[in-house]
Symmetry: C2
Subunit: 321 residues, 2 copies
Amino acid sequence: LLASTYHTKIYHGIGDDAAVWQPSRSHRSVISSDVSVEGVHFRREHASAADIGYRALAVNLSDLAAMGARPVLATIALTIPLDVTTDWLLDAYRGMVELALRSRIALVGGDISRGAALSFGITVVGEVSSTRLTMRSGARVHDVIAVTGPLGRSRAGLALLKDTTLVQRVGNEALIKDALQAHRRPEPRLDYAKFLSASAHVHAMMDISDGLSVDLLRMMRASKCGAVVNFVPSALATQSIAHAAETDAHEWALHGGEDFELLITVERRAFRHVSMRFEKYFSKPLLCIGYCREEEGCVEDKTGIFEPLVQGGWDHLLRKT
Amino acid sequence: LLASTYHTKIYHGIGDDAAVWQPSRSHRSVISSDVSVEGVHFRREHASAADIGYRALAVNLSDLAAMGARPVLATIALTIPLDVTTDWLLDAYRGMVELALRSRIALVGGDISRGAALSFGITVVGEVSSTRLTMRSGARVHDVIAVTGPLGRSRAGLALLKDTTLVQRVGNEALIKDALQAHRRPEPRLDYAKFLSASAHVHAMMDISDGLSVDLLRMMRASKCGAVVNFVPSALATQSIAHAAETDAHEWALHGGEDFELLITVERRAFRHVSMRFEKYFSKPLLCIGYCREEEGCVEDKTGIFEPLVQGGWDHLLRKT
């Protein structure tokens, strides 16, 4: 099932007990593992096999991107219940291969096991030069906090899948497609990360996987400072679908998660420069959402009144929405 | 939960999107992923949390050992159902830490997710010098085939757990303990692998995880030759427990799997020398089980009559015993 995709540095891919590769000398190696479980991270009725495979790998690549690293290879440990067919698995694998080829990484095999729940345990390895390495702990007081794109698209996509009548109420096909695409095929921001990690002015970086509210707090805790948020950018799709669903787009943007946009902090004086260069490169702006301050914790600036930022994102142990 | 154990080369362990380390220059990196699923690889009623954690990691280290590699770090992606307590998880983690410390590897974090079935997705990374790297595809015609210890102990241990009346019928406490230990706390053969991979006469190496019958066939296929097996060493515990269970010890040794002994092929003329040195080092012999021949497939030599070696080991897709 798991054929090795082409990669120059892979000395030995699948077929043995382990894969072998030669890391380059000037770089550090980076590793990240994530598991995608049916019923928690995806549902087979909501997405095609190829989408699910793609997504499971994308989530992992996003973690590596968030360190400023270039992904090199991935291993896949599958658990499959009896009702999953070989055809389904092959399709899921095709989704992974598509992203692997596009991201220029090798799939070097892994493990398949029977089990009660379908799950994808994926480990990605990459490399990063020490100057590019960007941690979540690097934020400094007075830094500008920004995100690489508007939020809540994936959450809006999920809402569409959960309530099929919503599609009619929204009407606008382009927005529906945008939200579904964001949910089914999130784009790991490898290009943005490459660009941003090259700048010494970008002090901290992470990907927004569990929700801005939760992930910003994690970044601030790691950096031992606090954040004032004065703008939470929600996507057009988020706004229009939330409106149709009679719910708050702001909530979806703040707590929805799974957009995999990058959350960064930038040296205050350099922000304009970094932002302009970013826009020139990617034809889209860096979105400033607030700034770092000494006082710990995260607050939302509601026209002059600071309210504590509620933690509403996904916590796998507490099982909050 | 996942604290980073001490390791010199780890530049950044847990707490960020990914872990970072510096591979040494003269070595290749090796990676392997395995998933241990409740109901398939372990049962909570059969072993303590610490044993289950230990075992999940041991299986992975064994894969690395089988390449001649020195393990460096491991990541852990947990899926936990609602009935697993934090105490249970901490105990499982203790089992992993115990083995991690003994094997001098770092646990660099990973991922925790809710899910229907308890599973441990573990990825280990190690390094190996190119001269030591030993594949399963290296076997040559006329090589001696050997294993690093008698087989079937883990299968015997499983039988004891499945049928509690068996314990009484066996009687011998030392043998019972030996079988249970082999099942609950298999020892990854890192020392043997280090010794064997240093010898240029050891052409092929892999660990016996799914059963000698299946794994030998895999090795022969990878090496494009065949094998004649004339002796399948079963442990004393295997024999005595199989006898009490009124079943065939030979079957357990041949198909039982999960002993994690190493399967090797050695240059015929050098076997005596390698074997003597091995015995001197480890105070136990290398057990010769047969030889490689040109004709593909595996046969068992039953006093002059060659019978095809039945494939009775564990196949996760076919779900055979």
